[in-house]
């Protein structure tokens, strides 16, 4: 009984982690950007979906769409207002650009967080679930919303896989992650590829944010922990490796759930962080890292 409970709850949370981390790792893989405003973009999506539903009184589906749209807009704003100016700058030496992007996106994330707290308070917000009610799975009373979350996450990840491996645009993105110079030589505009990647990223982060808002709820305080959780999952899986992130998301998700059930909910995140430290010692490139 408890094993089933862990299996079901762990799956939903892991799938959500996976979706959140996929976009994060994709951006890094293709353009070498570690976007530390990741958590802020997810929270912005969830809060927008909440505000649309409870202030503007739109229906749940439309609210969710607004949330994802806000995430895409915020992702583009991150790219055009923060990342691109740093990458294009002639005054910042090339070898320092990564650290500038890191700092820039971190500050940008804090700005978004403070704006959200200012306009919508730092209270936790929960998005009204698209599907309500519970079903019985092998004796475990499971909210339909939890199943919905897991299904949507898997579906979106599958679509992403198809996009990257089966479409022309996707192949260009893949090529850019392997050899940016080669792609330029083939006559493809690198900037256009980046725009596509940031759009995909915005959609992924938006869906993850809205689902998180429905499943657990978010507040402006969630910004830091969400970025940290995506960051540690991605580092654990191997920076830039999408499949590594997926595996790492499930490792972290289940480790947390098992700890919460069998040890204490108070120590939930500790084992996953210890694992991260251990992996850093033994295999610094992460589980499926390329280096």
């Amino acid at each position: 009984m408890r094993a089933f409970q862990i299996l079901i709850d762990g799956f939903a949370i892991s799938a959500l982690y996976a979706l959140g981390a996929t976009g994060f790792t994709l951006i890094f893989g293709v353009s070498g950007v570690l976007n530390l405003s990741h958590g802020a973009i997810m929270v912005a999506a969830a809060v927008a979906a909440w505000a649309a539903a409870s202030i503007l009184h739109v229906d749940t589906y439309f609210g969710a769409l607004i949330g994802v749209a806000v995430a895409v807009v915020t992702a583009f704003a991150t790219y055009f207002a923060v990342v691109k100016p740093i990458q294009d700058s002639r005054r910042i030496p090339n070898e320092e650009k990564e650290i500038f992007v890191l700092t820039g996106t971190l500050l940008w994330g804090i700005m978004i967080q403070e704006l959200i707290a200012y306009f919508f308070t730092n209270n936790a917000k929960t998005v009204l679930p698209i599907v309500e009610g519970v079903v019985d799975i092998l004796g475990v009373r499971t909210p339909r919303n939890e199943i919905f979350t897991a299904v949507v996450c898997c579906l979106v990840i599958a679509l992403l896989w198809l996009l990257v491996n089966r479409t022309r645009t996707g192949k260009a993105v893949l090529a850019a992650s392997m050899n940016p110079r080669g792609v330029t030589l083939l006559g493809l505009e690198l900037t256009n590829i980046y725009i596509v990647v940031w759009a995909i990223y915005g959609v992924l982060a938006g869906i993850a944010g809205v689902l998180l808002g429905m499943f657990l709820g978010v507040s402006s305080y969630s910004v830091g922990p969400l970025t940290a959780s995506a960051f540690s999952i991605v580092v654990l899986g191997g920076l830039g490796s999408v499949s590594g992130s997926l595996i790492a998301a499930f490792v972290v998700g289940y480790l947390e759930t098992i700890t919460a059930y069998l040890v204490s909910p108070a120590y939930r995140t500790i084992p996953a962080l210890l694992l991260l430290v251990v992996v850093m010692y033994i295999r610094p490139q992460g589980l499926l890292g390329r280096r």
């Binding site: 308070t121 909210p143 657990l216 204490s264 108070a266």
Partner: protein, 414 residues
């Protein structure tokens, strides 16, 4: 002394004194006002009502001519729920803005950090919402030093008593419940609360089957609710303040069949309904007052006035903060001065009928020195329930208009 000061410093001090004179004379009228600093969690669900309610009280007092012709001026500071920010705000309030008294915070950790500063800066300080027993115990332990701090809300010990008193009537006698699980967040205020619960619940006939303390950072409450359900209690007794929206929404989404009853600070604010998408339905929480509940003749007019001005009913800390401005003003009037020590003496003699009951403070020889007195004829607290999107009093009998009712997923075992 003068001779020891180097020339430059003397000139500087002279200039500073001159500057002070200039601003002093320039603001001759304002200097007459009684200044109250309000340091609060303006962005948090329970704290947001504090500066709003204080301002409302000041406006009312000023509209009636102030205190002996002196206006009340509220200077508020947002502490972002941080102790460090609060300490800085306290220093600024006293040293630069020259406040005569401070009303601050609903978080015990913040109040405990401010308490030594009230002593150092000799400034009367009242908290409208923190609960930890340690606040008033420190006053008792070192009265001369800490006498500047007043606890304008019930101690955790009193809160536990209030919950147990209500549980005895509502849960044990009416619904014949026999077992409970305590679910509380890990924070300074819940330590004495849990001790109080563990002691009084068995006395009223509720056996404590399990006791779950969780980190206030918890976002996923699924394992906690599943663990509680496994113990098969009749009721969950809560002690939550930093969290509120998330456990409540997950309780509803997972259809946990056990009612929640106890302290839930966030549920005291009317905005809680919207923040949880009405998942609060059926939640039972302890309060010192509530919308439409005539604890005293002042309660309802205040709640309605607050709603008219700010759009929602106040949280519990709104009621207390409102009363505090009034009884500080009353103390200034009785003391005939804003001198800190005289004000402390006057505050100790407070006997004020506010929105939450009759406010008096425990004396020097009581273990909870300077905390408000709990009991019949003073302050007993209420039990309220979210019903049809509204906060309704269900206990005690003399103010309760309706019976408890639960959403359909709650399965009462008796």
């Amino acid at each position: 002394m003068k001779n020891i000061l180097p020339g430059a410093l003397r000139i500087f001090l002279g200039a500073a004194a001159f500057g002070a004179l200039m601003t002093g004379s320039g603001a001759a009228l304002a200097a007459d006002s009684i200044k109250i600093g309000v340091i609060a969690e303006a962005q948090a669900i329970a704290g947001a009502s504090i500066p709003q309610a204080a301002q409302l009280a000041a406006d009312e007092i000023n509209a009636k001519g102030g205190v002996d012709g002196r206006k009340i001026e509220i200077i508020s500071y947002d502490n972002h729920s941080s102790s460090a920010d609060s300490v800085r705000a306290f220093q600024r309030a006293v040293n630069e803005d020259k406040v005569n008294a401070v009303i601050a915070s609903y978080i015990s950790e913040v109040v405990l950090a401010l308490e030594p500063w009230a002593s150092r800066l000799k400034t009367p300080f009242v908290t409208p919402g923190a609960a930890s027993n340690e606040i008033s115990k420190s006053v008792h332990a070192d009265y001369e030093k800490n006498k500047y701090t007043f606890h304008g809300y019930l101690t955790s010990a009193a809160l536990a008593l209030s919950v147990c008193d209500a549980a005895k009537d509502l849960l044990v006698e009416k619904m014949h419940m026999k077992t409970a699980v305590i679910m509380s967040e890990d924070a300074a205020w819940t330590k004495p609360l849990d001790v109080g619960y563990e002691e009084c619940l068995p006395k009223i006939g509720l056996k404590v089957l399990d006791h779950i303390r969780f980190s206030p950072d918890t976002t996923d409450f699924t394992p906690i609710f599943n663990k509680i359900e496994g113990a098969k209690p009749d009721v969950i007794i809560t002690g939550i303040s930093h969290v509120g929206v998330q456990p409540t929404v997950q309780w509803k989404n997972q259809q946990v069949p056990i009612p929640m009853f106890g302290i839930a600070s966030q549920a005291t604010n009317e905005t809680f309904g919207k923040d949880t998408n009405q998942a609060a339905e059926g939640v039972l929480y302890q309060g010192v007052s509530g919308p439409g509940v005539a604890v005293t003749p002042k309660s309802v007019p205040f709640a309605e006035g607050f709603r008219k001005k700010y759009g929602n009913y106040p949280s519990y800390a709104g009621y207390t903060a409102y009363d505090e401005v009034y009884y500080i003003a009353d103390a200034v009037k009785r003391a005939g001065s804003t001198d800190a020590d005289k004000l402390v003496d006057a505050l100790e003699k407070t006997d004020w009928e506010g929105t939450i009951g009759r406010v008096q403070f425990y004396g020097k020889d009581d273990p909870f020195t300077h905390s408000i007195k709990y009991g019949k004829g003073l302050i007993t607290g209420l039990m309220l329930q979210w019903q049809d999107g509204k906060q309704i009093a269900v206990w005690p009998k003399d103010v309760a208009k309706v019976d408890i009712k639960f959403p359909s997923f709650i399965k009462l075992s008796n």
